[in-house]
Every structure is written in C-alpha cells, then in structure tokens.
C-alpha cells in the first residue's frame, strides 16, 4: 500500500440551515494515486471537497495531510501547502491571457515591486511544456474552448505546486474526445507523483481512470474499493441502493403532426459577436427535439429568446402558429409555452418562499388560484398537495421552505409547476442537471409522458446521455449555429456526435434545412 498523503477522519458537516451534508466520513488518499469519489448529485461530494480545500469548515472531525493534522482557515493556506482544486465552474478572468490568469495572485516580481510579465510568460510556457499541455499562453482566455479553459485551471494549480489536485466533475463539460485527452493527462500527472482526486458521477469514466474508488451516498461513505475489485453494477447499487435500468419505454403513439414551436432565422449579437447565428427549426406535436452541444455555444441565448427573456435581434418565434416575437414571457406562456430553466435557484424558484408558493407562480392569476383580489387559499393547499403527491416531491408539507428540499425535489417542484400549466410546448433546459438519479429518471419519464400526450418538447442539455436517450430528433449546436440534424437518434454514436459538438464536422445546408417543417 502506498503512502497516505491525505486522510479524512470522522468528518461531519452541518449547514446553518440544518442540512447535514456529510456524516462521519473517513477516507484515506494514497500518494500518487487517482482516487475517485463517486455518488449522486447532492450526496455530499462537493461539500467534502470544499472542506478539504478549506473553503468550508467541517463541523466536527479532523483532516491529516502528510501525517500532520491540519486546520486551514482559508483556501489560500490550502493552496500554499499544495492542495489545488479545479471547480466545475471556471474561475478565470476572460480578458486576461492564459499566462496572466495562471500567475494571478502569485506573480513573479522584479525589482521588488514590479510585475515581471516576461518572466511570467516564460514560466508558464515551461510549465505547459513540462506537463505536456499544448496551449498558447499568450492567447486570451475568452477565445479558448471549454477544454482549453479547463487546462488553464489545471495549470493554475500546478503553478502553485499542487501535490493534490481535486477535479470537480471535470468531464461534465467535455466531449468524449476531450475526455480521452484529459485522462491521458491525468495518467501522466500520476506518473509524476501527483495525487488526483476525481469527482464524478459517470461510472464508466471512473472505472476507466481510477486506482481507488470511494462511494458516497446520502452524506456517508459506503466504502473505498480498489478499482479492479468492483464492477459498475456494484457501484450503481451502492450509490442509489438499487439497480438502475438505463432504457426508457419509448413506446410512442402516433399523433397528428402539427408544428407547435417554430423558430425562423433567430439571431442574437453581443458586443459584435453572433452568439446565436441564424437558427431555424420546428418542434412538432408529439416529439422531443433535443439540442446537444458543449455549454456556451449559444444554447442559453437561444432558449432565452424563445422564452421571451431576451429580445431577439432578428427572426421570428411562433408558438402554436401565433407569432409572439414581439411579446414578453407572459404572452408566450399564455400561448402555451412552459419553461424549465437551466438554473433552478436563480430563475426557477424563490428559495425562501414555501413549496406551495413556488408551485403556483406561473399561473397565480388563473381562476383556480385567485379571485379578483384575493387568493383562494384552500384551492392552493389542495392543488399543492396533489402536485406534491403526483410528483413524489419529498417535503414535510406544502408550507416548508423550498430551499429545505434536496436539489432533485426542488427541480420536481419546478417541473410540477410547469406541467400544471397544461402547456403545448415545454422548453426543458438542463432539466436534470445536478440532481439525484431517482428524481432525474422521474423527470425523464414525465417528459416522455408529455410527449406521448401530444405535447412538443424542446430539450436542451449538455449531457449526451440525456439528449440521446430521450430525443426523437436531435440538433447539434456549435458556435451559435446548428451544425447537425439527425432524424433518427439511434443511428448515431456518441463519438460521432462529439465530432459535431467540437465543430470538426458539419452537415450541408440541405441536410440542415430539414430541421424546419413547413
């Protein structure tokens, strides 16, 4: 057994709102190993990593690093002692160059006072070379691809001499090809003696790369295993406590095809750059149209224009045959639109409001909820109880604050509310991001049920698995444009899709025109 570099002993973390994120966690990380920590979203992985990185303080328990008990007061101390972390959301300054970002906060100094830019560039170049990174250190970060930004983040930790590197869901934003490249890199780090803590919920990746795997479920460890001793099925069972079927009942009734959402020549320009470039497509009744793509390729802006939260520069949005281009979200909702937003805590709920208040926000003025001035409290309670029951929302009652619920259950509140408006078309943006497998599966089944009932669904997701298993038709977005349209999702592979997502492959105009149904 290799030398232990980092040891967690009886770590417990209770948040101030009473949520117990970690319970009595014990893990030993060996030097020079790739150690994966797996578990559902919300199981407590991220909290645990933040504790190691001294971003959060454990309520009880001890951390030992290189055999010594440590008690860092801030991440700065952790960094200084060789612990580095790459967050899921990058912490980079877009208008700075790669080199500037890397040396930021620990700049080489000349003459005791002045920033030595030249040396900064040289050091970062050497660093990139030493660790086999192919990157132009003089490029501005805003011009880089997602995977290149990730490389910058990793270089940042290496520049600060990180011995232990924590990677929080690094592959969530990568295409299959980019993931392969990252793994090669990680194996090289391991050879050089670095310890990698790899957080993920993609089990096949974990199995491929890890030496050790620790399973966390419900804030507790379910054990640490040698990678060779445990199968993916066993891991799944440990994570969610049961086996998971990965296929959906795609049984589909034929319904009359009718365009419910039509988008024509939609464009959006921000500081001179087209974020959305001339996009056209149709969503028919009874189908799920998926939009795949690496995050940040214009999907967000596209959705905001369709839902009316962002004014379009040019183009037309039609809902159920009605041109709503010049109207806000209220009119669009009234025309039959519903919307599950990407970030539930920012747009989807009012965190400090109760479950029932969150369940009615998009139709509070309907006859069922309000009279001329007063709200019908009794109806609201009954309706909330029904929705809580129907969507299996786990809450004490309808008066609990919505932020006392788990992520998955908050998302169910959002989906339940949007379902309740009896929409014709639902725009579901990353509907299962960051939630537990059980809730995710339930939401997927709901979407399929809606599809079978003749509704149209536009599904935007960075999760390839999700778009591929749910969509009837699939579009791929790259750099604000549609670069691929697939009528039959079963005929393409993840790898092929990856090539479109990276922009290396592109269909012809003729093929793409088929996305629009006249």
């Amino acid at each position: 057994m290799s030398e232990i570099i980092l040891k967690l002993e009886n770590i417990t973390k209770v948040y101030s709102n009473g949520v117990v994120a970690n319970k009595d966690i014990n893990i030993e990380f060996g030097k020079g190993e790739i150690h994966s920590v797996v578990g559902e979203n919300g199981a407590g992985k991220s909290t645990l990593m933040k504790i190691i990185f001294a971003n959060e303080k454990q309520t009880t328990g001890n951390i030992y690093y290189n055999g010594e008990k440590i008690n860092y007061h801030s991440s700065l101390e952790a960094i200084k002692n060789g612990i580095g972390m790459v967050y899921q959301h990058f912490m980079l300054i877009p208008s700075f160059t790669v080199a500037q970002n890397i040396i930021l906060g620990a700049e080489p100094i000349k003459g005791g006072l002045f920033l030595d830019k030249k040396q900064g560039v040289e050091i970062t170049q050497e660093l990139a070379k030493k660790y086999n990174f192919d990157i132009d250190v003089n490029a501005k970060v805003q011009d880089l691809t997602v995977s290149a930004k990730q490389k910058v983040e990793i270089l940042k930790t290496l520049y600060r001499d990180a011995k232990v590197i924590i990677l929080d869901e690094p592959t969530a934003v990568l295409t299959p090809q980019e993931t392969e490249a990252l793994f090669e890199q990680l194996l090289y780090f391991k050879e050089l003696g670095h310890t990698i803590i790899f957080i993920s919920h993609k089990l096949n990746e974990v199995k491929q790369i890890s030496d050790k795997i620790t399973v966390i479920s419900n804030g507790e460890t379910k054990g640490t295993f040698d990678c060779d001793d445990v199968s993916i099925d066993q891991l799944t069972e440990l994570i969610i406590g049961r086996k998971l079927e990965n296929t959906f009942d795609v049984h589909k009734e034929e319904v009359e095809k009718k365009p419910l959402l039509t988008v024509k020549d939609l464009s959006f320009k921000e500081s001179g750059v087209y974020k959305v470039d001339n996009i056209s497509f149709t969503v028919d009744s009874g189908e799920i149209l998926g939009i795949a793509g690496v995050q940040g390729n214009g999907q967000e802006e596209l959705v905001k224009m369709i839902t009316g939260l962002l004014p379009q520069d040019s183009g037309i949005v039609e809902i159920n045959g009605k041109d709503v281009s010049n109207f806000g979200i209220k009119t669009r909702r009234d025309s039959g639109l519903s919307y599950v937003p990407e970030d539930r805590m920012v747009d989807g709920v009012a965190a400090a409001a109760s479950v029932s208040e969150n369940l009615i926000s998009t139709y509070y003025s309907s006859d069922e909820i309000s009279g001329k001035f007063f709200m019908k409290d009794k109806n609201i309670i009954n309706l909330s109880k029904d929705l809580i029951k129907r969507f299996y929302i786990r809450t004490r009652d309808e008066n609990s604050r919505v932020d006392s619920l788990s992520g998955g259950n908050i998302q169910k509140v959002v989906v339940a509310r949007e379902w309740k408006t009896s929409p014709l078309i639902m725009v579901a943006e990353q509907p299962t991001r960051g939630i537990d497998v059980g809730s995710a599966r339930y939401i997927h089944e709901e979407l399929i049920q809606m599809r079978n009932d003749g509704k149209g669904i536009l599904l935007i997701s960075a999760d390839l698995n999700e778009v591929m298993s749910l969509s009837d038709r699939l579009l791929v977005m790259y750099d604000g444009k549609i670069v691929g349209h697939f009528d039959d999702v079963s005929k393409i592979t993840e790898n092929e899709l990856g090539l479109y997502m990276l922009g290396t492959k592109k269909q012809s105009e003729d093929e793409l025109r088929r996305a629009v149904h006249e």
């Binding site: 209770v14 101030s16 009012a350 965190a351 001035f373």
Partner: protein
C-alpha cells in the same frame, strides 16, 4: 394514539425556523437588557432601582401606559411603509421625508376653514386622506425612476428626504407660520379635524385604532391577495418573478404609492392625534426607525406591531423618567435598539447551538 405519541407531537422543535427565530428574539432581548443594566451599573448610583423603573414605569399608571400606546402609532406606520418596500426587495427610506412634508400638507388642510365641514369624522378623514394621496404621489417619483431607469432607490430616497424637508420647511415658514409664537409653528388645528380621545384619562386617540386597521390591512394585502403574492415573490427573487411572467414595473409603482400613502397617513394621524399645531423644524428620523421596526419585526406586519410596541415602551419609559432621573435618557434606549438590531439581524447568532442540537438529533435518530 398513545400518550407518548401526543407528547412528541406537541413538543416544539426549537431548531425549526419559526420557533428558532422566536428563541433568537427572546435571547436578544435578554442580552440587550443585560447590556443596559451593565451600563447603568457604571453610570448610576442606584442601578437596580433605575433598571426596574425603566422596565416597569409605564405600568404604574393608566396615563403612562396610554403614552406608550400613542407613541407607537408613528413607529408602526413608518414600519409598515418600510415593510412594503422591503417585502418587494426595495431598500427605500423615503418615509422620513414623506412624513415631514405630508405633515405640512395635513396642516394646510387642518388649519383652513374652507376645507372643514364641521363634522369631525369627515374633517379628520379629509385631513388624513388628502395628505395620504399626496404622499403616495410623491413616493411615485423614486418609484418611476426605479421602474424605468433602474436607479438605486436608496440613494434617491435619501436625497429626496432632504429635498422634501427643504420644501416643507419653506412652506411652513412662508405660508403657515403665525406670529406671536416662538419657532416656526402653524395656527392651531381646527377642533373638528383633530382625532378623538378614545380612552378616558389617557391621550390615546382614535389613530390607535387606525393603526391596528393598517396592520391588518397590510397583513391581508401581503398574505391573502394576488398583489401581495406578486410583491413577495418579486422581493424574494426578481428573476423568478420575471420568469414566472410577473411585471415588475407596475408592481414597483403600486408599492411606492401604497408605502407613500401609509407614511403620509401616519404623519397626519400623529399630528391630529397629539399635537395642537404644526411645529416640527427637523426631520423626525422615522425613515430609519421604520427600517428598524421592519428588521426587529422580522419582515412581518404583526412583527412590526410588536416591535413598535416594544420600542415605544422603552422609549416612553425613558422619556417619562428623564425628568426625575439623572442618568436615564432616551439615548439609553438607543443602546438597547442597537444591540437588538445587531443580534436579530445576525444570521450567526445562536447558530452553533442549533447546529450542535441538529447533529445530536441526527445521531440519536440512527
């Protein structure tokens, strides 16, 4: 159901949100009083007597207690106006200036024979509602700026306070001041405009009842109406309200108007209830006190009522004792207010205790 079950059902869990904030309140009050006592220990020859006096003096006579009740009326109105702003996520402190200038408007109505009918109900209503509507219109100013240009309402409202005071004082000096009285004071209010005393042997006037009505009205508005729902959701999360299809523009305007109305009505009621004539020569400080009431009242109309009573009780007690005691002064109460505000608005206060308790529960559950 066995007896055991009933017992566990009835047991209040102090770690739950509402009981916990109640516990915080009691503990804060306790600490604030201890601090006061310590200060008295330092400055007073007979600290215990002073302390007991401070806590019990208003209870010693009906008149004194009545004094507490009338002193809470303006506090409560200012608190309700500020509450409306805070609930919709606006940090607006213009109640201060509105209170002053609408007092001036009220005076214009209440000293002018031409406005008065002689019927005391009609006259007092006029002298409250006219300034109320004007107050609402004035408050719309920062409201429109906020809704249309997204200006910072706090800065605007603070500047507005000075402007309103300047205009108000100009009107008082130029048009309302009468000769023969020191300072700048108006002619006496016409008798029929003044509010009636409702409890004999005290100064408690019908404005007290209006205050209770206002508290209930604001409660119903916020928690029972569609408008109130929109106000609260917008206040909690603006993005969410927009996403849900609520229009912030209209809402901001309505909230400003209502808050302006409440502030103005509070001012008129104060004047017509206990003053003979208008003689304010500076801002009353109620903009900030309104914010204090809202914070102490935990953003709830009933809480504002309780906070207004509590603060009024202490302030009245100190005022009544100020003549007979060398050390007790209204400034002493500021100390209590400061400590209370600090502890109640602190999210960390008692948090460790709560966490420990939660961990313990978690462990015993298994």
């Amino acid at each position: 159901m066995s007896k055991q079950d009933i017992k566990t059902l009835k047991k209040i869990k102090w770690t739950d949100d509402k009981p916990f904030s109640f516990l915080q309140l009691i503990a804060s009050l306790f600490i604030a009083l201890i601090v006061t006592f310590v200060v008295l220990l330092i400055v007073s020859d007979k600290p215990t007597k002073d302390f007991v006096d401070l806590l019990t003096y208003p209870l010693q006579s009906k008149f004194f207690f009545g004094y507490v009740l009338i002193k809470m009326v303006p506090l409560c109105f200012a608190g309700l106006a500020t509450l409306l702003y805070f609930k919709s996520g606006l940090f607006n402190l213009s109640t201060e200036g509105i209170f002053y200038i609408c007092g001036v408007f009220c005076t214009i109505v209440a000293v002018n024979e031409n406005f008065m009918t002689g019927n005391s109900f009609v006259d007092s209503s006029l002298a409250i509602i006219i300034p109320g509507l004007l107050g609402g219109l004035i408050a719309l100013g920062p409201g429109i700026l906020k809704a249309k240009y997204n200006t910072g309402e706090m800065v605007i409202s603070l500047m507005l306070n000075s402007i309103l005071f300047g205009i108000g004082f100009y009107i008082v000096k130029t048009f309302l001041a009468v000769e023969g009285i020191t300072g700048n004071a108006s002619a006496p209010f016409i008798e029929s405009a003044k509010l009636n005393i409702i409890i004999k042997g005290t100064q408690v006037h019908s404005g007290f009842i209006l205050m209770l009505i206002a508290v209930i009205a604001v409660y119903i508005l916020l928690y029972k109406t569609t408008l109130g729902y929109q106000i609260r959701m917008t206040g909690l999360n603006k993005n969410f309200a927009r996403y849900s299809g609520m229009s912030a523009t209209g809402l901001i305007l309505i909230v400003h108007f209502l808050a302006g109305f409440l502030g103005a009505a509070g001012s008129s009621i104060e004047l017509l209830g206990i003053y003979k004539r208008f003689s304010w020569t500076m801002l009353p400080g109620l903009g900030f006190t309104g914010a204090l009431m809202t914070m102490l009242g935990k953003n709830h109309p009933i809480g504002v009522l309780i906070a207004a009573f509590g603060i009024s009780y202490l302030r009245a007690s100190a005022q009544l004792l100020a003549n007979s005691s060398a050390v007790i002064d209204v400034k002493l109460i500021s100390l209590v207010e400061v400590v209370l505000t600090l502890l109640i608005s602190s999210q960390y206060f008692l948090r460790n205790w709560r966490n420990k308790k939660l961990i313990k529960e978690e462990i015993t559950h298994e």
